[in-house]
C-alpha cells in the first residue's frame, strides 16, 4: 500500500517510533529523508525524546505482586502444582480424592468429607484434654472452602459479613471449619453461598461428639 500523503505528514506520524528506534528500514528512510529539511519535525523529535524519558522515569513495584501470585499457584496443594483448580469440579476432585471416589453425587461427597474432617480438626489441638472443664472453643458447625485465589482480606470479609468465626483449618483440602450461632446459621450459609469467593459452604453437625 502506497502512502500518497505528503512527506511531512508521513514523517510526522512516524516520529514517536523513530524516537524509540522501532521503525523498519523503509519507514526510517521516510523519516530521515524528511527530517534534515524540516525544522518543525526536528523540534518535534526532540519533544518525542523528552516524552520517552518522562515515560521511562517511573515503574511500579513488583515484589508484593509476586508474593500474591506464588501464593495463588501454591494455594490448592503445594506439592501438586499441576492441579491448580479453577473450577468447582476440580476442587471437588481434590476434596474427594482420598476415599470417596465411589460417592454418587457431589453433595453426598461433601457431607462425607465434612463429617470425616470435622472431628479430626476439632480434636487437633492436643493441649485441650477431652475431659477438660475449661471453656472449650466453639464447636464447628459449618465447613467452608474458598476459591484458591481468594485473598486473606476477602476471606475475612466473607466471614465477618456472615457472622461466622473460624474454628479450624485449613484442612488437607484447604477447607476451614466455622462456628456460627445455630439461629444465624441459615442466613450465614445463604450469604456465603452468594459470595463469589466461596466454592462451598455447608452445615456440619459435630453435636454427636
Amino acid at each position: 500500500m502506497v502512502d500518497t500523503r505528503d512527506p511531512h505528514e508521513q514523517a510526522e506520524e512516524l516520529l514517536p517510533w523513530y524516537a524509540t528506534g522501532q521503525l523498519d528500514d523503509a519507514d526510517r528512510s521516510i523519516v530521515e529523508a524528511h527530517l534534515s529539511a524540516c525544522a518543525r519535525c526536528q523540534r518535534q523529535l526532540a519533544g518525542e525524546r523528552r516524552m520517552v524519558e518522562q515515560f521511562k522515569s517511573f515503574s511500579p513495584e513488583v515484589d508484593s505482586g509476586w508474593a500474591r501470585m506464588r501464593q495463588r499457584i501454591e494455594a490448592p496443594q503445594p506439592k501438586r502444582r499441576s492441579s491448580i483448580g479453577r473450577t468447582a469440579s476440580e476442587i471437588w476432585q481434590l476434596l474427594t480424592r482420598p476415599a470417596v471416589a465411589a460417592l454418587a453425587t457431589a453433595q453426598v461427597a461433601l457431607l462425607a468429607i465434612a463429617a470425616a474432617i470435622a472431628p479430626s480438626m476439632t480434636s487437633a489441638p492436643a493441649y485441650v484434654a477431652l475431659g477438660d472443664k475449661a471453656q472449650p472453643s466453639p464447636e464447628a458447625n459449618m465447613i467452608i472452602l474458598f476459591r484458591p485465589e481468594t485473598t486473606e482480606a476477602d476471606m475475612r470479609l466473607a466471614l465477618k459479613s456472615s457472622g461466622a468465626s473460624l474454628v479450624g483449618g485449613p484442612t488437607d483440602a484447604d477447607a476451614y471449619l466455622l462456628h456460627v450461632s445455630p439461629e444465624q446459621r441459615p442466613s450465614a450459609l445463604a450469604r456465603l453461598h452468594d459470595d463469589d469467593d466461596v466454592l462451598m459452604a455447608e452445615p456440619i453437625d459435630g453435636a454427636a461428639r
Binding site: E13, P16, W17, G21, M51, F55, K56, S59, G65, M69
Partner: protein
C-alpha cells in the same frame, strides 16, 4: 544545539538496541520453554519481568487498583496455564500483552471506570510557569494530568509506544486493530498531550 547531539546518539544507538532486543527475545523464548515444562522458578522470572510492565500497561485501561492487580495476575495465570499454546508466531511480549488487553476489556465491561472522560472534552489541568523554570517534577505531574485527559485507547497507544518501546505493528496486534488506527490514535494523542503541556516547554511545540 542539543538536538543535533541527540540525533547523532540515536543513530549510533539504533543497532545495539536491536541487538539487545534480539538477546531479550532469545532469553524470553528459553524462559517460556521452561515455563511450559512447569518450572516454577522460570515462571517467577517471567512474572518479575512482566508484572511491572503489565501493571503499567493495564493502568491505562483499568482504574481500580484491586481490579488492576486482579487483571495482571489473571493474565499471568493464563500464561502459566497455557504456555504450551504459545507457538512463537509473534513476540512473547505481544502474546502476553494481547492476553492482558483482552482481560482488561472484560474487566472494564464489568467495572466501568468511574470517571472515564470524553477525549473531546478535556482541558489541561495544569498551570505551568515559564519554560525555563519548569522543574522535572512539575513536568511529570503535567504529563500525568495530560495522560488522564486522554481516552483509554489513546493512553494505551501512547504508553505502549513511549514506555514499552513497541512499534505500531505490535501495538495493532495487541489491540487487535488496523495499524492505521494505531498511527491515527497516536497522532491525535500527541497533539492533545502537546496542547495539555502547551506552556510547559517550547520543545513540545
Amino acid at each position: 544545539m542539543r538536538q543535533g547531539a541527540q540525533v547523532t546518539m540515536s543513530r549510533t544507538a539504533s543497532h545495539p538496541r536491536a541487538d539487545a532486543a534480539r538477546v531479550e527475545g532469545v532469553e524470553e523464548r528459553q524462559l517460556i520453554e521452561r515455563v511450559r515444562a512447569r518450572e516454577l522458578p522460570a515462571f517467577e522470572k517471567l512474572y518479575r519481568l512482566y508484572q511491572p510492565r503489565l501493571t503499567r500497561f493495564l493502568s491505562n485501561l483499568v482504574q481500580r487498583p484491586q481490579v488492576l492487580e486482579e487483571v495482571v495476575d489473571d493474565t499471568m495465570m493464563v500464561v502459566w496455564e497455557t504456555a504450551g499454546n504459545f507457538r512463537g508466531a509473534s513476540k512473547l511480549s505481544t502474546w502476553i500483552f494481547s492476553i492482558a488487553y483482552r482481560k482488561a476489556l472484560k474487566a472494564r465491561s464489568r467495572w466501568p471506570d468511574p470517571l472515564e472522560e470524553d477525549p473531546n472534552d478535556t482541558r489541561a489541568s495544569t498551570d505551568p510557569g515559564p519554560d525555563d523554570q519548569v522543574q522535572q517534577g512539575r513536568l511529570h505531574d503535567a504529563l500525568v494530568a495530560a495522560m488522564e485527559s486522554l481516552s483509554a485507547d489513546h493512553r494505551t497507544v501512547v504508553d505502549l509506544t513511549y514506555f514499552h518501546s513497541m512499534g505500531y505493528r505490535e501495538i495493532a496486534e495487541i489491540m487487535d486493530c488496523p495499524v492505521d488506527t494505531v498511527k491515527t490514535r497516536m497522532f491525535h494523542a500527541r497533539r492533545r498531550l502537546r496542547e495539555a503541556l502547551g506552556g510547559t516547554s517550547a520543545d513540545w511545540l
